[in-house]
């Protein structure tokens, strides 16, 4: 599968996600600068990496979400292309309107950088097919603005539609209903604060993150 990684000024997990994608797909991803106006032909997955796009000025992910390449990403996502946003990538996806809600400052005000336990809330998605429903997995987080917010009506809707992919097994950052990862209505866009690309081999302490990429490869094609 051909993949693309969007690189913003201030991205700092772009190479990590590139290593993870190459390790699983066997192909180096195309690195696409934020100033580009089109995605490379034939990509089966677009990844938005972690980091601090544009220094997180204004709001986390706000300026990144308005960069030229995001118009192409939104258009492709609307047509069903799988898009994965991790950490700052999740913030960019909410700011771009591809995912509901917003990521706010952690309630404890601390930057949280540690391994966390996640519950797989929906194993029937393109991103989670290699996990078991309700399984607890361990993935690292590293963020200051991971406190997921949406109004009660939106939360009820996304929960009812099975769009909460992952939930923190215990409180991490004050997220509404412990939400760690959210899908769009079409199920082809996932945003998550934890970093699966930092957990893809034994040397990382485990490979719970690897299964996300393996599942994607299996469901969206070779």
């Amino acid at each position: 599968m051909k993949t693309a990684v969007i690189v913003f000024p201030g991205s700092n997990c772009d190479r990590d996600i590139a290593v993870a994608l190459e390790s699983v797909t066997g192909r180096k991803p195309e690195m696409v600068w934020h100033g580009e106006s089109a995605l490379p032909d034939g990509v089966g997955l677009v990844a938005l990496p972690g980091g601090f796009s544009y220094g997180d000025y204004l709001r986390s992910g706000a300026i990144g979400a308005r960069s030229p390449i995001m118009r192409a990403v939104v258009e492709a996502a609307d047509k069903g292309l799988p898009v994965l946003g991790i950490c700052n990538g999740f913030q960019v996806l909410t700011e771009a309107g591809l995912l509901p809600g917003a990521l706010m400052r952690n309630t404890g005000l601390n930057f949280v950088c540690r391994e966390v336990a996640l519950t797989v809330e929906n194993a029937q998605t393109a991103f989670t097919s290699r996990y078991a429903q309700g399984e607890t997995i361990t993935i690292p987080v590293a963020h200051h603005d991971g406190n997921y917010f949406a109004d009660a009506e939106t939360l009820d809707r996304i929960e009812g539609e099975g769009r909460v992919a992952f939930r923190y097994a215990s409180a991490v950052n004050g997220s509404a209903r412990g939400i760690a990862g959210v899908l769009n209505a079409g199920g082809n866009v996932l945003g998550m604060m934890p970093h699966p690309e930092r957990r893809i081999e034994a040397a990382h302490g485990g490979d719970d993150g690897r299964r996300l990429f393996e599942g994607l490869l299996e469901t969206v094609g070779a």
Binding site: L58, R59, R66, E95, N106, T107, L109, N147, F149
Partner: protein
């Protein structure tokens, strides 16, 4: 034309930074502070013929995230 855009968190949205400021004020011994909410002030200098619809669009599309924030425009 100079504009001042005030961006504030919607009522009911938790403001951890406001809470931290509140705690610090308490720590400094200022009694009687009931609540603290932190927002942003953005100053714009725009062409005199900029219409209200464009100013509103700038606020909605970028300056404020209307999922969590309200905005108010003041003409200087």
């Amino acid at each position: 034309m100079k504009l001042r855009i005030f961006v504030t968190l919607k009522p009911g949205v938790l403001d951890p930074q406001g809470k931290a400021i509140h705690k610090a004020l308490d720590g400094l011994g200022f009694a009687g502070v009931n609540d603290v909410r932190q927002g942003k002030l953005i100053e714009l200098d725009v062409a005199d013929d900029t219409d209200d619809a464009s100013i509103d669009a700038m606020c909605r599309q970028l300056l404020a995230n209307t999922v969590i924030e309200n905005y108010r425009v003041e003409r200087a």
